[in-house]
């Protein structure tokens, strides 16, 4: 396994990626110099507030943003070593759905309301894999069954309106799985769902990932989901990655004040009723007019003069697998000292 990885390029390597929107009010810096790698079979969580650029990042990778000249890109998206941005549209279409698939946030709006569920699955199979209609129908029923929807064959003739939100999201996952993609991008797949359904959908995603040895990018604003379902995390803020490391490491030793603030703002079940929610003061910066220096400085409780003028790079300190962009990171927690002391 280790040998394999050293020979093959990582599944996905994003290098210094920019996505800017040319709007009438100026350039919106939605994704502003993002780099990360994702190995096969791993799950990367991307966390951040609304407007941090997470969704735009995912739509840039699978290349479904408008192509009318209003969206500007720069940088590399290497998928198995090939730069997706250099591929002609025809080849990119081969990648979409077959190699990289996507599950969207709101299953109420991501399925076509006037098409039968069966058709929405079989069209991928017949158009992309060249299956016959009959074979595609059988396969679609299998897929429906594999995502835990009962009476699979009957479901094929139903419309999305006949299904609940959770069931629709299962259908969306079945569609994404149709061509056995190597990478699944799940853009807030549970945000629009009932809390009790959330865990079911996330478990289903994990199960599908293990069965198919697929890599997953799980986009969420919920650190609780990240801690339970991802191997690595990238925390995004205002179009840039603010902190990146293994999930356990991030939960145990957040270094970037923004990560800490995010953690503090998640309500705990153990809180007594009517506990005031801990919100991060202020708003994320306007992406049309990004402030100089660290993008978080206006809201950071530890802000210093340097933070207001110089932009910190995403760098590691003592642990090479833990990078963060901060001039004055939080101290490596006590737990860490004890642990490293133990090793010595």
């Amino acid at each position: 396994m280790a040998d394999n990885q050293s020979i093959e390029p990582p599944l996905l390597e994003v290098n210094n990626l920019f996505t800017h929107f040319d709007t009438p009010r100026g350039i919106a810096h939605a994704v502003d110099g993002v780099s990360f790698t994702l190995e096969r079979g791993r799950t990367l969580g991307i966390v951040g507030e609304s407007g941090s650029g997470k969704s735009v990042l995912s739509r840039t990778i699978i290349d479904i943003l408008a192509k009318d000249g209003s969206v500007l890109h720069e940088g590399e998206i290497l998928f198995e070593g090939r730069d997706l941005r250099q591929l002609p549209e025809k080849e990119m279409r081969e990648i979409r759905g077959r190699e990289i698939a996507m599950v969207f946030q709101d299953p109420m709006s991501s399925l076509n309301p006037v098409k039968k569920i069966g058709k929405q699955i079989t069209e991928v199979l017949t158009k992309r894999l060249g299956m016959t209609k009959q074979a595609a129908k059988l396969r679609a029923a299998e897929l429906i069954d594999s995502v835990g929807i009962p009476d699979a064959e009957q479901q094929l003739t139903r419309f999305p309106m006949h299904l609940s939100g959770g069931m629709r999201q299962r259908v969306a996952i079945a569609i994404a799985m149709a061509c056995e993609p190597k990478l699944l991008i799940a853009d807030e797949p549970t945000t629009a769902l009932d809390v009790t359904i959330q865990a079911q959908i996330l478990d289903l995603l994990r199960e599908q990932q293990r069965e198919r040895d697929m890599s997953v990018i799980l986009i969420t604003h919920n650190l609780g989901i990240v801690s339970g379902y991802t191997d690595d995390v990238a925390v995004m803020y205002a179009g840039r990655i603010a902190e990146r490391c293994g999930t356990d490491e991030l939960i145990a030793h957040p270094r970037m004040p923004y990560t800490e603030a995010l953690m503090n703002s998640a309500p705990a079940l153990s809180d007594p009723p009517h506990t005031r929610l801990n919100a991060i003061p202020g708003l994320p910066p306007n992406l049309l007019n990004v402030p100089p220096g660290c993008r978080f400085h206006a809201r950071c409780p530890y802000v210093q003069d340097k933070c207001k003028s110089d932009m910190p790079e995403l760098l590691a300190e003592d642990n090479p697998a833990h990078t963060f962009a901060c001039w004055h990171p939080l101290a490596n927690g006590k737990a860490n000292e004890v642990a490293s002391g133990g090793i010595q």
Binding site: E94, R96, G97, R98, I100, A101, M102, K115, K127, M161
Partner: protein
């Protein structure tokens, strides 16, 4: 089915209201109908007996509400009366004209759909591109040109300069399909030219909205081709206003093609209406209006049913 019955029920009162109102309005026309009919003839001035006999024959001596009731009763048995002028049964006159108007209308609508759907989809997909802007400019230009000007221009270009198509008249289908069709091409195209700009703009707007939907993003992420997405995913959810408008235009056309029928000398329902109004042939006018009301009601029902076909959620809500 429930949905269908409900819609059908709505349309019954509409039909009665229209025929009643038209009957009343026709009754308000100034002048004495008996005089109008008798004076048209070249014989000697009518005597008082003649006048009374005719009035009795046409039930004109009875109050208007009774006449409506009589007319309604006959209508329900399929008898719309006889022309005051030619004594031809109204149903027979309509029967001769309707197929001609229907053919013109269908050809015009088919042309309008064939032109407006691709234009609307492409300009919606490429909104604000050079293509979209030139199509829009052309559309607004077309909107500003009255139908008789457009028709005259087409006659001038295709019939006079190029000599490709006949400029006017009507030939029965029995004398050859092509000879029948070729006379409809220019008038149908004239009507289509007037309809296309509106249809196209409506479809364009809805396509732009639909293309913002998540299910379009999902279809893209499935690797579907652009043309497949536009025609198979975006068109149907975008076609509500389009179908409504198409239905309204269909209703308008049955009489609204009067100008075109006159311009191209096509003996359709529109011409029948105009001639009957000229001759004060009130019973014929009433017959044409009844037919038009039926068409409107039928088209509206068809449009409502189309909604349910286009979007399964509609049938479910009622």
């Amino acid at each position: 089915m429930q949905y269908f019955r409900l819609k059908l029920l709505h349309l019954v009162p509409v039909f009665f209201l229209v025929t009643f109102a038209s009957f009343m309005v026709l009754n308000l026309l100034p002048g004495d109908l008996v005089d109008a009919i008798l004076l048209d003839e070249e014989s000697a001035p009518p005597t008082e007996e003649d006048r009374q006999a005719l009035a009795k024959e046409l039930n004109l001596d009875k109050p208007v509400i009774v006449r409506y009731a009589i007319w309604l009763g006959n209508m329900l048995t399929g008898d719309l009366g006889r022309s005051y002028v030619t004594a031809q049964p109204v149903t027979e006159a309509l029967g001769q004209r309707i197929p001609i108007s229907l053919e013109l209308m269908l050809m015009a609508q088919i042309l309008a759909v064939l032109i407006s759907v691709p234009l609307g989809i492409i300009s919606g997909y490429r909104a604000n591109s050079a293509f979209d802007r030139s199509v829009s400019a052309g559309a607004f230009g077309m909107l500003a040109i009255p139908v008789f000007i457009a028709g005259t221009m087409l006659i001038w270009i295709f019939a006079i300069i190029l000599g490709w198509l006949p400029s006017s008249g009507h030939t029965a289908m029995s004398e050859g399909v092509w000879r029948n069709l070729e006379k409809f091409i220019l008038p149908a195209f004239t009507i289509a030219l007037v309809e296309v700009p509106v249809l196209m703009r409506v479809l364009r707007t809805d396509i732009i909205t639909t293309l913002q939907e998540d299910f379009i993003a999902l279809a893209k992420s499935k690797g579907m081709t652009t043309s497949y997405i536009l025609f198979h995913h975006a068109l149907r959810p975008s076609s509500f206003s389009y179908v409504t408008l198409l239905g309204l235009q269909l209703g308008n056309l049955i009489t609204g093609s009067i100008v075109v029928e006159t311009l191209f000398s096509i003996p359709g329902v529109g011409q029948l209406l105009i001639n009957s109004v000229d001759n004060r042939d009130e019973i014929m006018v009433q017959g044409v209006i009844t037919f038009v009301a039926l068409v409107y009601v039928g088209v509206n029902l068809a449009v409502d049913l189309m909604y349910a076909v286009l979007d399964p959620r509609v049938a479910r809500r009622t």
